[in-house]
Symmetry: C2
Subunit: 157 residues, 2 copies
């Protein structure tokens, strides 16, 4: 990866649809905007999540195991996986959202919550870890973030 990322504050918008958080610190931006935007999009039409990922850098682990490999790289492969999940209705109920600054302008975001699918009344507990990186890190126009790391787990069993 040829990244020429410098350490500087990214007090700019997270995504086009969540511009409210301009001028806030990078640790605060995703807390306010990212989780809400991500799960609203996921629950409405998860096929629309592609722009939040990057074609070259983004990685998803989705309940990955040696016996059922589920690691994906690049926006297209990630969205294909999300589209293929075997439910039609889904709702994420976010219970906690923790953020920490990470090196080179990144932000680690950890979400825990309840997941409701289709007709199920009983939620499943999930945890999902994102690392967001500034768009400059991928050679894109500055001022936004993309998902570099995405690790999803049901916390069961």
């Amino acid at each position: 990866m040829n990244q020429s990322v410098t350490d500087r504050t990214h007090a700019s918008r997270l995504f086009t649809s969540t511009i409210l958080t301009i001028q806030r610190s990078p640790a605060i931006i995703p807390r306010l905007g990212f989780a809400q935007h991500y799960y609203q999009t996921f629950d409405a039409d998860r096929g629309q999540l592609g722009p939040l990922y990057n074609d070259n850098y983004s990685m998803l682990n989705f309940e990955h195991s040696a016996s059922r490999p589920a690691q994906y790289k690049g926006s297209a492969a990630i969205v294909d996986k999300l589209r293929s999940l075997p439910f039609s209705r889904v709702r994420h109920d976010v219970k906690t959202c923790d953020c920490q600054p990470s090196p080179n302008g990144g932000v680690v975001v950890v979400i825990c919550g309840d997941l409701y699918v289709d007709e199920e009344q009983m939620p499943q507990k999930f945890s999902q870890t994102f690392q967001l990186m500034p768009t400059e890190a991928a050679g894109l126009a500055p001022g936004s973030y993309f998902i570099f790391n995405d690790i999803f787990r049901l916390n069961v069993g």
Copy 2:
């Protein structure tokens, strides 16, 4: 943060006590060694975890909330918090451990599992996200990793 980290493979040891993984890829090293080492140390004597953190860079969120702030920076403050946790016996039963490479030689590690404290027979579900960075990133001797980000959550309620 003045980091002059370059992108290169860190196929070296994770910690002194887990040298078995020399020559493996950085995504594999922590899967094999880190979680085991971290939780064995935590469960035996969590006061000994200090060397895995860095005085200047490491951050811990431990069940942080606005009403009960619990964010710590630096090895000493982090270990003080861990020591102060109100239990004497503890056991982490790791169910899943996911790793992804992150920018500039880092590794994101997400662990989900069961936590047993004192006399409790019923485990509590937990998830813990670490971002490990090469020791060079903190100006230390190369060849190892330290915990840059640590976010702990009980996945309940």
